[in-house]
Amino acid sequence: MLSVIKSYGLKGLEGFPVQTEVDMHSGMPTYDIVGLADTAVKESKERVRSALKNSGYNYPVAAVVINLAPADVKKEGSLYDLPIAIGMLAASKQIPYESLKSAVVLGELSLNGEVRRINGILPMLISARQQGEKVFVIPKDNADEVVFIEGAEIYAVDTLQTAVEFLTSQTELSPIEIRSWETDLKFNHSDNDMKYIKGQFAAKRAMEIAVAGGHNILMIGPPGAGKTMLARAVPSIMPNMTFEEALEVAKVHSIAGQLENGFVYERPFRTPHHSSTMVALTGGGNKAKPGEISLAHNGVLFLDELPEYNRQALETLRQPLEDGVITVARNAISITYPADFMLIASMNPCPCGNYGSATSECRCSAAQIHKYLTKLSGPLMDRIDIHVEVDNVTYYELNDETLAEPSEVVRDRVNKARQIQLERLKAKGRHCNSQMSPADIKKYCKLDKECLQLLEESFEKLNLSARAYNRVLKVARTIADLEGVEKITVKHIAESLQYRSLDRKYRV
């Protein structure tokens, strides 16, 4: 007899329906899976057999053929265990096929019949919901991921038996309670709050501006100056994620199997190590998995010790920094993942880290320093709007008991500035100043005579390179927005000029 159970597959971020067809006929007991299944799917044989047996069902003595339709699309992973097992029960008439409830079934089986969590359930269910599916049976461990899918009737099961009993209407289950986003905002930045960062006034101010305008930022300072601590505090001052943003993030994390708390409530903060390969950063591998930059989507990508990264790996960041997406092409598939992140990078001023420091002596030769600084390519540096120098905190500052301004207060200011930018740039589909095109800059960064004069003077006097020009304007726009004023004044330009330290030619 033939049975068909609905399931889903995943291609990039999009799900597609998969029909799990199970047919049995008399003959030598065999188990064949067709439909471009990968090894994990083929190995379901042993899991399904044991799970059926250990759940009190019989493994049919028959020639079993399983077809995963559509047959020309690759299927991956262990999520078809549960639909196959149920299909076999129906095909072998151990349960009535005709009266089975119509549902999309997903889940991996353990040998004792338990249902285990799978990766990528969120994007699959979102696609399925959009394509008109309503009822789903999923592993209980995945339940947290899908609580925001509106209009879905999702049943979480922990064993094969529960799933079977539910589908055959022997027991009633109550669907997962669907929550709405607003009621569920929870933030826990307690450890990485700005208020715990002593001193570092210049760096904190620069961070605020960077976050407010979505600017990428580079911190330059000796080891131990607190660059990492500053970077870690950044998510706490970023504006709250909207539901759409959170959903995008959760989708990517779901595919990568990195949804630890069930869903993503906070902006991601990714810190790939500097030994990371290009593929680790951009995504890829034979399954074209999302890389670190996609996992940092809508959040922060923190590259500590920027010049230590593989040059090739860094250069691949250029396109996503511009477009906010990365296209990973592998032999059979090409997938576009979102990668709209804020880049925070840090570096030492020289290989030993003490160049320019007031307290320690630099041991590097001029050539070494020069080489270190030129490891970063111009095009990459072109995409970093703000440079800020961070110096060691003094003992006096460390010992200061008073807490600095808490993140909440800073975040309020950031939110306000972002709102202004959104209103201004909405029409063009942009949401923050860093995304402004040269045409936008011309339109929204109008300068009066005084400002122009200041810029001209400073380019000569402060030894700024031409590359700095548009960046200075963008950052000045953000500074003005933080203040809530429409017109860019000399004051904003002057402050913005302070954030171009690597363009200054006072280095070796």
Binding site: G199, Q200, F201, A202, K204, R205, G221, P222, P349, Y355, G356, S357, A358, E361, C362, C364, S365, A366, A367, H370, V388, E389, V390, D391, V393, T394, E397, L454, E457, S458, K461, L462, I479, V490, K491, A494, E495, L497, Q498, S501, R504, Y506, R507, V508
Partner: protein, 363 residues
């Protein structure tokens, strides 16, 4: 264009035959024309020249290399000044180991102008950088500044000199077409554009060999009436220039540095051995040479209350951004603006590490 003697010098220079060997040959044969005729199959000459003898003989015979070199010199705007030329600087002629050819690019007249060498370590500290800038700025009014186009003090000296429309000579330790370090190629081009001069005693595309740098230092010292040592560790290239200058009986001027600072160990030991060398302002050097000291009137700048507060804090020395915030109580967003303004007014200067100090200030 070039006389036969000069052409011989150019050919020898291009073949990188050392000055010592050249003068020995000249002694042996009496004059350059004789040399070019009789050098072939001469065992004594072969012994003097060594392994380059064959190449030299064949180059002298067919004359191709010379033609090529002259053509390339013309293409690149290079001229040669040789020991047979009238404008060969006499100060260099009297050296113990005098060069016999200079490949030059730029204003050759500078070779006979009044020169002062500014030298120092490649690994310059912010204090050394400030010294180099402030001293060169004033010294360039009266002297052609000679240095070696290396990183650090050398580059700063050349750059500052150009900024103040002074004249400068860069003595290279390698070929003149591709300067070393290559990062300073732009600076070299600017020196030529702005009426300065690049010179090298090595062939126009000689490789920058390590022994050539200390060797050219004798020319840096030789061209100059005096040597200003900005920041020098003991046992450094800078110190070898100092030794050359002392051997040549040139005046040496040194600025004292912190006694714990290794980069000043050479400077300080010089001061210990010859106290007269110690200078603290560029005016000391000028008055040593009895030059007219014209003090420029500093424009009086009106400062706001906040600006005055910052200037008061910064006047102590190197002060970080955070310290200014703490000591003045000015909010960071305001302070950034004020600092930028003060910097533009040339009242303060920014240092690496987001630190600030007063601008210039030695008079």
């Amino acid at each position: 264009m070039y006389s036969t003697e000069e052409k011989i010098c150019i050919l020898f220079g291009q073949l990188a035959i050392s000055a010592k060997k050249f003068y020995k040959l000249l002694d042996y044969f009496g004059d350059a024309i004789c040399l070019s005729r009789e050098i072939f199959n001469n065992q004594d000459a072969e012994q003097i020249v060594g392994e380059e003898y064959r190449a030299l003989c064949s180059a002298l015979k067919d004359g191709k290399l010379l033609e090529q070199t002259l053509a390339r010199m013309q293409d690149n705007g290079i001229v040669a000044v040789t020991c047979f030329s009238q404008n060969f600087p006499s100060s260099v002629r009297d050296l113990e180991d005098p060069p016999y050819v200079f490949f030059c690019k730029g204003d050759v007249a500078l070779l006979n102008s009044k020169c002062l060498a500014v030298v120092g370590t490649r690994k310059v500290s912010s204090y050394g950088r400030r010294l180099a800038k402030d001293f060169t700025a004033i010294l360039s009014e009266n002297f052609t500044i000679v240095s070696g186009l290396a990183y650090g003090v050398d580059s700063i000296a050349h750059e500052t000199c150009l900024e103040h429309n002074g004249k400068t000579i860069a003595v290279l330790g390698g070929g003149i077409i591709k300067v070393y370090p290559s990062a300073n190629q732009q600076l070299a081009d600017r020196i030529v554009e702005q009426g300065g001069l690049l010179i090298s005693e090595y062939g126009i595309d000689a490789q920058p060999a390590p022994y050539r740098f200390p060797h050219r230092n004798r020319i840096v010292a030789g061209l100059s009436v005096g040597l200003f040592v900005c920041q020098a560790p003991l046992k450094s290239g800078t110190f070898s220039t100092v030794e050359c200058a002392l051997e040549q009986g040139k005046d040496v001027f040194v600025v004292p540095g912190e006694v714990y600072d290794v980069n000043f160990s050479g400077s300080n030991s010089l001061i210990k051995s010859m106290q007269g060398a110690c200078v603290t302002t560029p005016r000391d050097i000028e008055s040593f040479y009895h030059l007219d000291v014209q003090k420029k009137q500093k424009a009086v700048v009106q400062l706001s209350i906040f600006e005055q507060k910052i200037v008061d804090v910064v006047s102590v020395g190197k002060v970080s951004f955070d310290e200014i915030v703490q000591q003045t109580g000015i909010q960071p967003q305001e302070l950034n603006f004020l600092l930028a303004n003060l910097e533009l007014k040339s009242i303060i200067a920014r240092l690496p590490g987001n630190c600030y100090r007063l601008y210039g200030g030695i008079e």
